[in-house]
Symmetry: none
Subunit: 229 residues, 2 copies
């Protein structure tokens, strides 16, 4: 369900297979292609959580794939790890310049790549690394898609779940309604800002227990924030 989705762009078939096997073993969902254009199609079809991109591929070059991923709003924020040959210092510079988040030089051990992937995911979105997030007396398990408070399991709808997850990933921080719309509903959603209020109310109701303080703070004229108890 919430296994992190990787897109692997690699034209060395043996290496690609090896990595696919290793990553799937670690609980990732992997999609592989050797072709740059196909990579872009895959990425726009079903946005991956992270892209592993070989710099030297046939068709559209790595650098071009990287640039186009960044240009498309839907994939602009997807982290990219690039694979480069050791000598190609120049590529590395251009890679980072184009917006790659990290790079690994060939030859590398699959373990090293696994570690990098895990590190980048943890930095970008902790929940994707498969870790449960805790905030005060609440615990959210992104893998099982479950939320509990004080050991009690909460019944919670899809939107409220995403909303709560986002709040728990950034506790204490105040978000405006439009920021929440971008983060939870997706950028460019054309939804009334007041609708956020309604879901906040639904979320409050869903996480309420007997004699428990409401952990969601309303900041007048600014937005909402989660205050862990």
């Amino acid at each position: 369900m919430s296994a992190p989705k990787l897109l692997l762009v690699e034209d060395d078939l043996a290496l690609a297979e090896l990595l696919e096997y290793r990553f799937e073993n670690e609980g990732y969902e992997v999609r592989v292609t050797a072709d740059g254009d196909e990579a872009l199609v895959f990425a726009s079809e079903d946005a991956p959580d992270l892209v592993i991109l070989d710099w030297m591929i046939e068709g559209t070059s790595g650098i071009e794939v990287c640039r186009r991923l960044r240009r498309d709003k839907a994939t602009a924020h997807v982290p990219i790890i690039m694979l480069t040959a050791r000598e190609a210092e120049d590529d590395r510079v251009r890679g980072l310049e184009t917006g790659a988040d990290d790079y690994v030089t060939k030859p590398f051990s699959p373990r090293e790549l696994l570690a990098r992937v895990s590190a980048v995911l943890r930095r970008v979105r902790p929940a994707l690394a498969g870790e449960t997030i805790e905030a005060g007396d609440m615990k959210l398990d992104p893998v099982a898609h479950r939320v509990e408070r004080r050991g009690r399991q909460l019944q919670i709808g899809p939107t409220e779940y995403r909303l709560l997850k986002f709040f728990m990933e950034h506790p204490r921080r105040v978000f405006s309604r439009s920021q929440l719309l971008d983060a939870v509903w997706g950028t460019g959603s054309e939804i009334e800002e007041r609708t956020v209020d309604v879901h906040i109310r639904r979320l409050r109701k869903a996480i309420a227990l007997d004699n428990s303080r409401d952990p969601i703070r309303t900041v007048r004229s600014a937005g909402y924030a989660l205050e862990p108890v």
Copy 2:
């Protein structure tokens, strides 16, 4: 809202677009232009919090833009980061001489530039980098939208919050009523100057504690200033 506003002056369109995405992703508000004269217009229209300035642009040169920004009182204090070619050591020297705050040599990674921007903002206006600002016995957390004094939480309304934040960013300095109107209410607000007095009173009341000195100083026929205890 409180997203730092950047003005990016860059005539390499691909690079400009890339940076725009990255910075917007990080929560900045970005305005882009390739033209030096237009940059000056933008800057005077809506003062940015920081300017990223390519040294080699068409029209009015980077150095000239920098100099004029410094000359105009409204933008004299805005920090400037310049982008230079690696070889152009000469430019770097002249840039710093002209008043740039930092420079980044091409080629660079977006991450590096992000780090520089964040560092400069932290130095110049900590609240913009999301850091808590302290003044005397008061502490303001712009991310959580909270103010405390001597460890005690203060209850404070939206306008008083903005007013206090502005004062805490510029302690000990005296501001006239019209300066405060520009800074806190926004330029072009058509509000009676006397109204400032009222909000000053409300702010004083909001931050008052038992047996604590009033940290806001009234400067007769000049304005108000915050005197940290």
